[in-house]
């Protein structure tokens, strides 16, 4: 789901700025390898979010000693993340309720 990927990217970028590969590694880590997305589909999402102004890219030097884009969250991105996060939690709660499962 597009929204999901955007959320994860925003979450991952909350603290540090990372390049594409770094972001994909973090997502794997955070989601305990549960999300089996094609890694490549990360990039269209990144570009789209950059266009919308949720994240911005800066040039830096990667561990491979090559020029690479490092992404970071903008103020607008932070706001978007907070509101989306609330929505998600609510939705998850509701879903859990319907499925007869309590959420801690």
């Amino acid at each position: 789901m597009q929204g999901t990927l955007d959320m994860l990217i925003l979450r991952v970028l909350q603290k540090d700025s990372l390049h594409g590969w770094g972001i994909s590694q973090r997502i794997h880590l955070l989601s305990e390898d549960m999300l089996k997305v094609e890694e490549g589909s990360l990039y269209p999402a990144l570009y789209r979010m950059e266009r919308k102004g949720h994240i911005r890219a800066k040039w830096g030097i990667s561990e491979l000693n090559r020029k690479a884009k490092f992404y970071e969250v903008t103020a607008a991105g932070k706001k978007h993340y907070e509101s989306e996060r609330k929505n998600w939690i609510q939705l998850a709660r509701a879903t859990a309720l319907v499925l007869g499962h309590t959420f801690s």
Partner: protein, 913 residues
């Protein structure tokens, strides 16, 4: 905000273009290399590590494509590609592009110009604050036989005392002011000028809600008789006479009336009642004014309705107040009723119906134009069908193909709109030259003179362009890419009977075109017939090449008399004598100019609809006609007047040099006056006099020595007015002299020479408003002329477009059916049959259009009612003529295609694949 930022980012990406693409590829490579390194570290071989990394990444090419999508520049890129393709294809099809462009430029041009007229007259708000609340207040009395129309000619409206009552005691108006026409005369040797202005009473500027943009309005002491003389200039006058010099405000202007201080300049958009108004003067009431009879109704009144009152409520309250006034002053006010006319209506009144028709016609022509181009594009589209089908087969979506075709038509229509706007500019400039030089008494001229290409008009042209582009582009695009699209690959190569569905669409478009043009040509036909009737009937003046103008008597003559003489009667006598000798001298001076045949001087100007009415009574018939009064126009003329102007003498004689102050008072009256006074035109020898007016005795009895022909003074379309003529020598009093100069050939050619002669004879004076009698006659029906020209032009365009439409449909039909014709001829069909086939098609198209259009025309022609003269809106002969014209045009349009069809060689046609 977010949306705009998004859009800006997209545009930025568009310009970064290929660099962005390279960066993206780099970034993906970087990712894969990272993964590969990680895999190698985990113990894979170089090759294994790379493949695993790629697998993990997914379909690289597809992801690259998705990335490009995500920049959001696709729409723009498509747009650019579509327009590039469209340009190429338009240039390729030179002929049809050119035809469409010319049609569009003409169509949008004419339509925009016509719209600019309707815009100025119907839509543009008047240049006042809250103009809907402003009303003209007319006073009518059915018993006096006055119609509102006569009232609005400015004959009479309110007396000073009535005005004061309305202003101070009624509860209808927030403010009320009067205005009156007034002349200004700049005395100057190098640049004398006479101009028309209004005197306006206190509070006028607050009433209209417009203040001078330089200087100030009139102050209280200027609104008192004997106070400092002041003038406020209209913007145009200021610009022309003072070169827009702001420092003239506060300086003094030398007017004939005395030195006058310029206190302000009105803003450029301000116009009140007439654009001829060059300046405003204060309008002080004196004690004498206030004590004048309540029946001297000569003020024109404008008011602002109390806030919160609707115009109906205001009218109702005004009626109640008028009843009160009638009770209080039964003698002067019984029967008088106020009529409140919104200023906007008052000014557009006469042209209102014509403008509504014009707006309708504008949209008709737009529709016809669109239908025509749609047809042309349909034809093209059907011949491009194969090409489009191939594109579709190669994977172009229907939307992509429609988009491509729309791009073409939008480019066409935008170019057409730009060219059309240029055409409109030219036409509007031309319209301006058609306007009459006429005092307009608060009628539509004000707005007609405001006709111009402004933002609304440009917006209209743009909307017309884009709207028509969408309309004529979408129709063929959807039609061609319709259901049967996939089959068309086969269709074309098999070349069966023409495409029936396309044919049907095109036919209905043409029928609509023909129907609409029938409506328009019918409307224009009625107007043209009215125009011809009026001009055939004429005004009653039978002369060519007469120039009319006014020349005032130089001030110094009057000053000298006043300085030398003591008593008022003596001054008057000497002034009259001075005037007569000045006129005689000037006339003989002008007569000496080569090319001048003769000169005559009269007290009144002809054919301007501007006159004062005098009540007259016939001797011996006074008692019988107490209730009905005869009102006449009075003119003092010289003996050669009737000859020179060309007014036929029906009975008796004209004046001679011997009709002088000390001889028997004589008069020549026109037939209308004779009938109205005596019920017969055999009246030579009978007598009449001017009735007494409040505060004035009746005149002496005048013996009628001749009866002359009538003149339609109010305009060719109005009934003739009763006229009485006195001998200038016998009855001369104050008054301005109108000179009529009969010339050889174009009268205006002599204007400079006459001007020189006048200046030489009387330094410091000028000739005012020189205008030929022919022009004055033409101007008297300018509303009809204007409407005829506009609608006529639009109708001709419609006719032309409809003919073109019929032609193109038939031409295509012939082309599509060439093989069929060949086949039929091969099987034995005669050429006559082929000819008949297409002629029948053409005639049936036009015939159906004419039938529908004829019915519509009869419904819509009623709107023209008030503009027509001597012909009704249900005029069947005109309608029949229009129908025949259309059928003839249709037949003409069919000639070429039909001939082409009949020349088809069967063998060639069949091989022709």
């Amino acid at each position: 905000m977010a949306f705009i930022k998004d859009l800006l980012n997209r545009l930025a990406y568009l310009f970064k273009g290929s660099r962005l693409d390279d960066e993206m590829k780099d970034e993906i490579q970087h990712h894969i290399d990272f993964q590969k390194n990680k895999n190698i570290a985990a113990g894979m071989s170089e090759k294994e590590a790379r493949l695993a990394a790629l697998r993990r990444f997914g379909n690289v090419e597809r992801i690259k494509e998705e990335c490009r999508e995500s920049w959001g520049t696709r729409a723009f890129e498509n747009c650019i590609r579509d327009s590039r393709l469209a340009f190429r294809s338009l240039i390729q099809r030179q002929t049809s592009t050119l035809v469409s462009l010319v049609t569009l430029a003409l169509g949008i041009g004419v339509v925009t110009a016509a719209f600019s007229v309707a815009n100025a007259i119907l839509l543009k708000p008047l240049p006042y604050e809250d103009p809907d609340k402003l009303v003209m207040v007319w006073n009518t009395n059915p018993n006096e036989g006055r119609t509102l129309e006569q009232q609005s000619k400015g004959a009479r409206s309110m007396s000073v005392q009535e005005f004061v009552d309305w202003r101070d005691k009624s509860d209808v108006f927030e403010r009320l002011a009067v205005f009156q026409s007034w002349f200004g005369f700049v005395e100057s040797d190098e640049n004398p000028e006479q101009f028309f202005g209004y005197r306006v009473s206190a509070g006028f500027f607050d009433l209209v809600g417009v203040q001078p943009f330089l200087g100030r309005g009139f102050v209280e002491e200027e609104q008192v008789r004997g106070g400092p003389a002041a003038i406020i200039l209209q913007y145009d006058f200021w610009r022309k006479r003072f070169n827009s010099d702001p420092s003239v405000v506060g300086t003094t202007m030398q007017l004939r009336a005395g030195p006058t201080r310029i206190v302000g300049v009105m803003p450029p958009e301000f116009v009140f009642s007439s654009r001829q108004i060059k300046a405003l003067f204060p309008f002080p009431f004196t004690e004498a004014d206030l004590n004048r009879s309540r029946e001297l109704r000569y003020l024109r009144v404008v008011g602002r309705i109390e806030p919160g009152l609707s115009s109906e409520q205001a009218q109702a309250r005004a009626n109640v107040f008028a009843d009160h006034m009638a009770e209080e002053y039964p003698q002067s006010n019984a029967g008088w009723k106020p009529v409140l006319v919104p200023v906007a209506e008052n000014s557009a009144g006469e042209l209102m119906p014509a403008m509504k028709v014009l707006l309708g016609a504008v949209f008709c022509v737009l529709l016809i134009m669109c239908a025509n181009i749609a047809n042309l594009l349909l034809v093209q589209a059907s011949s491009r069908k194969q090409d489009l089908a191939v594109r579709s087969a190669l994977g172009a979506s229907r939307w992509a193909i429609v988009r491509g075709m729309l791009a073409e038509s939008l480019i066409l229509s935008s170019a057409g709109a730009v060219l059309g706007l240029a055409v409109a500019y030219g036409l509007v400039a031309y319209f301006q030259t058609l306007l009459p030089d006429r005092y307009s008494w608060g009628t539509s001229l004000v707005q007609a003179e405001a006709v111009g290409v402004d933002a609304t008009v440009i917006a209209f042209a743009a909307a017309a362009g884009i709207g028509s582009g969408l309309f004529f582009g979408l129709l063929p695009a959807l039609q061609v890419t319709g259901k049967s699209f996939a089959q068309s690959l086969n269709d074309v190569s098999r070349g069966a009977l023409g495409n029936r569905r396309g044919q049907r669409t095109r036919n209905s478009l043409v029928i609509v075109e023909v129907a609409l043009s029938v409506v328009m040509v019918f409307g224009a036909g009625l107007l043209v017939r009215s125009f011809l009737t009026l001009n055939a009937q004429g005004s009653g003046i039978y002369s060519d090449d007469v120039l009319s103008m006014q020349v005032g008597m130089p001030r110094h003559i009057v000053d000298q008399i006043e300085a030398e003489t003591a008593t008022k009667t003596e001054i008057d006598e000497r002034r009259v004598a001075a005037r007569l000798s000045f006129e005689t001298a000037l006339a003989s001076e002008i007569r000496r100019i080569p090319g001048v045949k003769d000169v005559t001087v009269a007290s009144e100007r002809l054919m301007t609809g501007w006159y004062f009415l005098w009540e007259v009574e016939a001797e011996g018939r006074t008692a019988a006609s107490e209730t009905e009064t005869t009102e006449v126009i009075r003119s003092r003329v010289q003996p050669n007047y009737f000859d020179l102007i060309g007014i036929p003498l029906l009975r008796g004689r004209a004046f001679t040099e011997y009709d002088r102050p000390n001889t028997r008072p004589v008069a020549v009256i026109n037939r209308q006056a004779a009938l109205s006074l005596f019920g017969s035109d055999d009246v030579v020898g009978k007598r009449f006099r001017l009735k007494s007016r409040p505060g004035r005795d009746p005149s002496s009895w005048y013996e009628i020595i001749g009866v002359c022909g009538d003149i339609r003074e109010d305009g060719l379309h109005m009934p003739a007015k009763p006229y009485v003529y006195f001998s200038k020598k016998q009855t001369e009093f104050y008054g301005s002299g109108w000179y009529y100069v009969a010339t050889e050939g174009d009268p205006y050619r002599l204007t400079p020479a006459i001007e020189r002669a006048v200046r030489a004879a009387a330094p410091g004076t000028i000739i005012y408003r020189p205008r030929s009698l022919d022009d004055l006659e033409r101007d008297s029906t300018w509303q009809l002329n204007y409407a005829t020209l506009l609608l006529g032009g639009l109708a001709l365009l419609a006719l032309f477009l409809a003919t073109l439409g019929v032609y193109s449909v038939l031409a295509v039909s012939v082309r599509e059916r060439t093989r069929e014709i060949g086949l039929r001829m091969a099987l034995g069909a005669q050429r006559d049959w082929v000819l008949g086939l297409f002629l029948k098609q053409g005639v049936s198209l036009v015939g159906r259009g004419v039938l529908i259009g004829g019915a519509l025309a009869l419904v819509f022609a009623q709107v023209l009612g008030s503009l027509l003269y001597g012909v009704g809106p249900f005029d069947i002969p005109t309608l029949a003529g229009v129908g025949l014209t259309l059928v003839a045009a249709g037949a003409f349009a069919s000639v070429l295609p039909v001939l082409r069809a009949s020349r088809v060689e069967p063998m060639q046609a069949l091989r022709n694949e």
